[in-house]
Symmetry: C2
Subunit: 356 residues, 2 copies
């Protein structure tokens, strides 16, 4: 920067003003500075700027257990939204216990992040950490900033199954202590309606008895008359699908299987999974927007309160709708009259739904 100033015979401050458009600089000079800057390949030192302004232009991203297959979607969406807003994203993995989460948050703070996005571990409540925080969890969690409307997604899926004619469905969750999963289950029940009989299986409980990775006994459930298995995550859906197939039960002609989240494999397995997708791009945009609103001094806020608020930020809307994606793993029950075991049932698009 001083090189530009010297080359043009002006002061460094003027160059700064010219480039930022802040002070009073003549239009011609601004042009000359711009030209010289790009001529010299000038890149501002964000470090120095950070030191002076106290803002680093970096956001932190804290993720619960990183093994979570949703992670790529989240990280990508957040990184994209942040980088569009001119921010960098520092990741921190709170793998392990709550202590690790706290420690990860601490590391981010030391690095001087301007704010952070936290996808909290189950049952964690984020204390005021000293910088703006956007929490992505579920609308029913207090302190939530923005998230997918898991309940709504469940209800869409429930309606889909009810409309197909299913009257006895098994809901499959992993952990009863997850807010997200409980919301999804609640939505499913509501969507299925009162006349549909349903039962809930928590995989964690089954595994506590029979060991990790044990069979879930879904074939028996099918024999008991369950015609649909609605898992609350694609991973569980995949587990259900393969277990049923292995037991010789046809999907979807004998039973239907559905998942949640539209993870990478959902479209690839046979039959492709009917699932529900969250709009992470929108969620990330809202979270980042809320964060930035808290970070950057608002034009109007000349009335004293120039302080950056340090708690959980709030968004305009706290829930964004999910999107039902109908593929080949769902069909009407008892459709097995003419099962074609060697080719998946062809795609039957339905108005208003995404089919892929």
């Amino acid at each position: 920067m001083s090189a530009i100033a010297a080359a043009l015979g002006v002061s460094a401050a003027t160059v700064s003003n010219a480039l930022s458009g802040k002070g009073r600089v003549s239009p011609e000079l601004i042009e000359k500075v711009r030209a010289k800057a790009s001529e010299l390949g000038y890149v501002p030192s964000l470090t120095a700027r950070a030191l002076r302004t106290g803002r680093t232009g970096v956001l932190g991203l804290v993720l619960p257990d990183i093994a979570n297959p949703l992670f790529p979607q989240i990280a990508q969406a957040i990184e994209n939204a942040a980088s569009n807003a001119g921010y960098g994203v520092l990741i921190a993995d709170s793998r392990g216990d709550i202590a690790a989460q706290t420690e990860a948050i601490g590391r981010l703070l030391e690095r001087g992040v301007d704010g952070m996005v936290i996808v909290p571990r189950r049952g964690t409540r984020i204390a005021d950490v000293g910088c703006p925080v956007a929490v992505i969890d579920t609308p029913s969690t207090p302190g939530n900033t923005v998230s997918a409307d898991h309940w709504d997604g469940g209800s869409q899926m429930g309606r889909h199954l009810a409309e197909l004619g299913h009257r006895k469905v098994l809901l499959i969750g992993t952990s009863a202590s997850s807010n997200v999963q409980n919301d999804r289950i609640g939505g499913l029940k509501a969507g299925l309606g009162a006349q549909v009989e349903c039962d809930t299986m928590w995989i964690e409980k089954v595994e506590a008895v029979s060991g990790e990775g044990c069979p879930l006994g879904l074939a028996d459930k099918a024999r008991l008359g369950f015609t649909a298995f609605a898992a609350v995550s694609d991973l569980s859906a995949l587990r259900a699908l393969t277990e049923l197939q292995r037991a010789g039960i046809g999907v979807p002609e004998t039973v239907s299987v559905t998942g949640f989240d539209d993870l990478i494999w959902s479209a690839v397995v046979t039959p492709a999974l009917t699932t529900v997708r969250m709009d992470m791009a929108t969620i990330a945009d809202l979270a980042i927007a809320a964060l930035i609103r808290a970070i950057e001094p608002e034009g109007e806020a000349e009335n004293g309160a120039e302080e950056v608020s340090t708690g959980n930020v709030i968004s305009e809307t706290d829930r964004v709708p999910m999107q039902l994606i109908v593929r080949q793993s769902t069909a009407a029950p008892h459709a097995g009259r003419t099962p074609n075991l060697h080719a998946p049932t062809p795609n039957k698009p339905t108005a208003g739904e995404i089919t892929s």
Copy 2:
């Protein structure tokens, strides 16, 4: 920091020296400074330090397509290794084309990263970007810093299948232009040996003809006498497994299916996938270590060359072994005499192999 100095009646420089152990400070004073520092809850400003030293303590992580399900493993391992070494990790997603990758690298440079880890897009050669770079790709790629020994992994898997008695196996890859996949395929062929007949199917080519997500026609292949399907990624293995199951072909009693990478679902599906795992923790440690060696001024290097090298760094070893994980999706061919369709074949641990 100046608060500490004032409280103890010494200069700020002395405090700095005391805490860093650099200059000449009396042991008692060091203790007093330490005490006062923690009493006042002093946290050094990494921003200021960065400005002064020119090093930010931040590494960049550039990932090819972030939808890649391996991403969580990589990100977790890198973040862990970096944070153990006292570095933060800034992510950059080179989603999309090569231009996006270049642009992502640029953003990281602007933010002043001290070095970066790049998992390059297929066919990309990383130009000298102006900071140390660790490339994680495959040993056969020029410029590779460290990676899993994909060829060795393939060869382990090949031997496993050959020992089980398979004599005709179909190798399944996604894209013929991937170095990683070609290495894996090469290893597989070598491990299978000359007396095993094998054919290679590239999914991209099949889909170019029949459309994305089309059936791969594996049932026909089974009828042609293939008794094993060795995919070069777990995603393809999953695709193969479900397609075969759906066609009524028993895995593993009729045909075996194997994958690569031990992704999250591999242990969860029925039958659980036999696969090969890379030791990302070690790879990440080596990559970060190599990077740091290039970044931090070596004690011996008093001989002029104090410059930080700006090219691809090299590691002590460029390949770390993969680990065969035998689960239930592989068995001897024609073992279908006594198939138990309703329960997966029980785990049969083999010496020297991991079974889970």
